[in-house]
């Protein structure tokens, strides 16, 4: 059974269609990259999977369970996944408190919180930074804290919305390395939105190409990059679609 199943999902904001009848499966244990130009609907797709917004049409299943229902039902499902946003979205608190937040929301004991946060910070290469104020971190450090905040929850699905968009190469490498490790060590399924084609090539098992809210093509990474089936994919991969 696939971890996520989207069937004919559409979403509009005011008068703009962000997604049009998207059907997409996310397989357990894979890294799936969502590529596409700015405004293609990548963020909307991730927010829909994270159950932060409702689809106008279509169905989304998570672990075989229909995500439609009460807010409590959606929250229960949402707590099995974690999302890292393009901007780190850290609270005005210490690094420790930021990483601990999701655990505290779930009612973990403080002893367990301390152990898990310490381990998560070590995992992203930031151990010893727990007492620093989040506001004093560099962009790369902040994004790694945001990643630790997601990983500490041991999610079944990790959603990453262009997390390296504004980072320098060492931080991009550090984040990619962590993503690869969590996928191989902990078998966490990853959905990674990016407009960096090389990054998608480096990280993914499969790639999905979104264009103007439409899912144009999904395929194994090498297959999609070497033999795209749709002309629009070819244009995008060759840099002929301006974005």
């Amino acid at each position: 059974m696939n971890l996520v199943e989207m069937i004919g999902v559409s979403k509009s904001f005011v008068d703009k269609a962000a997604l049009k009848g998207v059907s997409l499966s996310v397989r357990r244990g894979e890294i799936l990259s969502i590529i596409g130009p700015s405004g293609a609907g990548k963020t909307t797709l991730l927010r829909l999977i994270n159950l932060l917004i409702y689809p106008d049409e279509g169905k989304i299943f998570f672990e075989g369970v229909d995500t439609e229902g009460s807010e409590q039902h959606r929250r229960t499902l949402r707590r099995r996944m974690a999302m890292v946003f393009q901007h780190p979205a850290l609270f005005d608190a210490s690094v420790f408190d930021n990483v601990a937040l999701g655990l505290r929301i779930r009612g973990f004991s403080e002893r367990a919180v301390v152990e898990k946060v310490d381990e998560a910070l070590r995992y992203v290469g930031l151990s010893g930074l727990g007492r620093r104020r989040a506001a004093t971190l560099s962009a790369g450090e902040a994004q790694r804290v945001s990643l630790a905040r997601a990983l500490v929850l041991e999610p079944k699905l990790l959603l990453l919305d262009e997390p390296t968009a504004n980072l320098d190469p060492p931080n991009v490498a550090a984040i990619e390395n962590v993503v690869k490790r969590v996928n191989s060590d902990s078998k966490i399924t990853v959905v990674f939105a990016t407009h960096n084609l090389l990054q998608a090539k480096r990280l993914s098992d499969r790639v999905a190409f979104l264009w103007m809210g439409e899912l144009v093509e999904v395929g194994e990474t090498s297959e999609l990059f070497e033999n795209p089936k749709d002309e629009r994919t070819s244009l995008y991969l060759s840099g002929r679609i301006i974005y």
Binding site: Q72, R78, A82, A89, A93, L101, E110, V114, R131
Partner: protein, 251 residues
């Protein structure tokens, strides 16, 4: 006519009154602190959730409600006093409560002014929270109540500012408590009403002295609240012992 001399003597007299432990001054000061402190505390209990709810929820007429609260932030104390006088006077609709010319009536009048001030400042500070933070809290699994708690924590400096501003308005207010309290010696006489009375009697030195005590009182309360602001940087959504444990492990 009063001049610089009264001001200088006023300062000396204030120090004299503070250090002599004059029982009447102590009673007046304590009453001011009690009435304004209670009004601020209750104003915070009502105004903070009210302001946060208005800021964080979408509903029809939100703009009108915010405009009304902003208008009420400048509520004239004399008008509040007049309305409470009519309501609480023996022939008024709430006369049976026998609250007119009591400290409780003074507190109610100040509370009426403090609530919109606190709510207004909370609306401003909470509305300014980054939408991304709100979404992050939900994404992390927060329920509606947890989301509000997290966002209030995030805007905690604004909440403390709301209390500081609310207390400042209450402690310095004179019109309302003069009308509903009656400025009765030993019972409802507060610092501000005493200053008005002494000024009317030409006792400028004493009036200045009480003004300085009033200022010192406001300063002390602000120092306490500012210290709270400075210390409120750790413990996001934490249980009580978290910070200690945090320190042990992270050092």
């Amino acid at each position: 006519m009063p001049g610089w001399e009264e001001l200088f003597y006023g300062v000396f007299r204030a120090l004299q009154l503070i250090f002599s432990g004059d029982p009447e001054i102590a009673r007046i000061t304590f009453l001011s602190l009690r009435v304004s402190g209670a009004a601020t505390l209750l104003g915070g209990i009502i105004g903070i959730p009210l302001g946060a709810t208005i800021a964080l929820r979408s509903f029809r007429g939100k703009t009108i409600v915010i405009s009304m609260i902003n208008t009420l932030m400048g509520l004239p104390p004399v008008l509040v006093g007049l309305i409470f006088y009519i309501l609480l006077s023996s022939t008024g609709p709430l006369g049976f409560l026998h609250l007119i010319y009591t400290p409780e009536a003074m507190m109610l009048a100040q509370l009426t002014m403090v609530i919109p001030i606190v709510a207004g400042v909370v609306i401003t500070s909470t509305s300014g929270i980054d939408v991304g933070l709100r979404e992050a809290a939900i994404s992390l699994g927060a329920d509606a109540l947890q989301e509000v708690r997290i966002l209030l924590w995030e805007s905690r400096l604004g909440l403390l500012t709301a209390l500081v501003v609310g207390f400042g308005a209450a402690i310095s207010e004179v019109g309302a408590i003069m009308i509903v309290g009656g400025n009765l010696l030993g019972y409802t006489r507060a610092l501000t009403t005493s200053i008005v009375l002494l000024t009317n009697q030409g006792e400028f030195v004493e009036a200045i002295a009480l003004g300085i005590i009033l200022l010192a009182l406001a300063f002390l309360v602000n120092v306490v609240l500012t210290c709270l602001q400075m210390k409120s940087r750790s413990g996001l959504f934490a249980q009580t012992r978290s910070t200690k444990i945090n320190r042990k492990v992270e050092v």
